[in-house]
Amino acid sequence: MSVLKRVQQWATFARIWHVYDAAWQNPFQSAELLKKYLMGMYKPIYHPSNDCGDHVIVINSAEIALPGDEWKKRVYFHHTGYPGGATWTLAWDLHSKDPTMVPAVYNSMDGNLKRRYTMERLHIFPDSNVPKDLMANVSNQIRQIRPMPKRLDHYPEQQVKEFPKVIDYPKDYVVR
């Protein structure tokens, strides 16, 4: 391959690092979104036998939001392989023990033979503390799906006072 063609090859098949903020996001919807970047499906050069997946760094995975009753009802099954080694772990239990574990992305790639090594390119962190050398590689931010609501005490006091009110509590009302 000539020098020019080698550089062109290197540029076209470059592996991009993306970052995704998972705070207040539904992990199952996010998994469908991140799957596209991890597998390289958004690239026009995609082919199943062409190893064109990108890296994705997920931050704030401790603050994900499962819909409805999922925290109480979603159960993850694990079998060690030994007799009597079956365990059923609830989502809240699993998350409290390891906040980086949400098998949503893994399960969304069910049936895909490249799942195991595609998952190796997904780096999950429970908060925003990411090692500097990983963060230095990042060149794209993936947009969130759900908007993040802002807490009332995070707004500046002036803005809260000036905000238009429809009605107000009476002066002697006791707010519990």
Binding site: Q8, A11, T12, A14, I16, V19, D21, K43, P44, I45, Y46, P48, I59, G111, S128, M135, V138, S139, N140, Q141, R143, Q144, I145, R146, P147, M148, P164
Partner: protein
């Protein structure tokens, strides 16, 4: 398991029996317009049948047109070609112009060509002048100066206007009106 659904079927452009070199024979054999008698999604199809269908049938004497009114099903065009191919087009919520456009397309086709990637009879050693795609081809150059993670870039792209935003706008407009009326006084 298979990845066939990801790719188009490659094929050259071919005409049956050099159609058009001497005489031209329309390759569409029959067309069945299936529609619901009273559902709103078939309205365009019904309007087309009332207005434009007879003209279409008269202009194309080689195509047999069947009508199939059936209840509680979406409007559909099913076309069959002389080579045995059939094509199925869902006409849910189409306008009558759209139905006509699809019929004209079917009339001009010689087979069902959906999902086909056309192979070219030419070859070039330089398929791209501007250079092949790289992950940086269609990127906003502002991204080069951004420090990650970025709050603004993280926000969802399509944010619907909430009722809260509309109320704030109403309030602000009212305030402006009051100020202007005071100034007028």
């Amino acid at each position: 398991m298979s990845n066939k659904h990801l790719f188009l079927i490659p094929g050259f452009i071919r005409t049956p029996l050099q159609n058009g070199v001497g005489r031209y024979v329309g390759q569409l054999q029959r067309v069945v317009l299936k529609f619901c008698k009273n559902n709103g999604s078939s309205r365009g199809m019904r309007e087309f049948i009332e207005s434009g269908l007879v003209n279409f049938a008269n202009e194309n004497p080689g195509v047999v047109v069947y009508l199939k009114p059936r209840r509680h099903r979406t409007a559909v065009i099913k076309a069959e070609y002389l080579n045995g191919d059939s094509q199925w087009i869902n006409c849910r919520n189409f306008t009558q112009e759209e139905v006509l456009k699809w019929l004209i397309l079917l009339k001009s086709q010689s087979k069902n060509a959906t999902g086909t990637r056309i192979k070219k009879l030419w070859h070039t050693d330089h398929p791209s002048i501007q250079g092949p795609w790289t992950p940086y081809t269609f990127r906003d150059p502002e991204l080069n100066l951004v420090e990650f993670p970025n709050d603004i870039l993280s926000k969802p792209a399509i944010m619907e206007r909430s009722s809260q935003d509309e109320l704030i706008e109403l309030f602000n407009n009212k305030k402006i009106e009051e100020l202007e009326s005071k100034r007028a006084e």
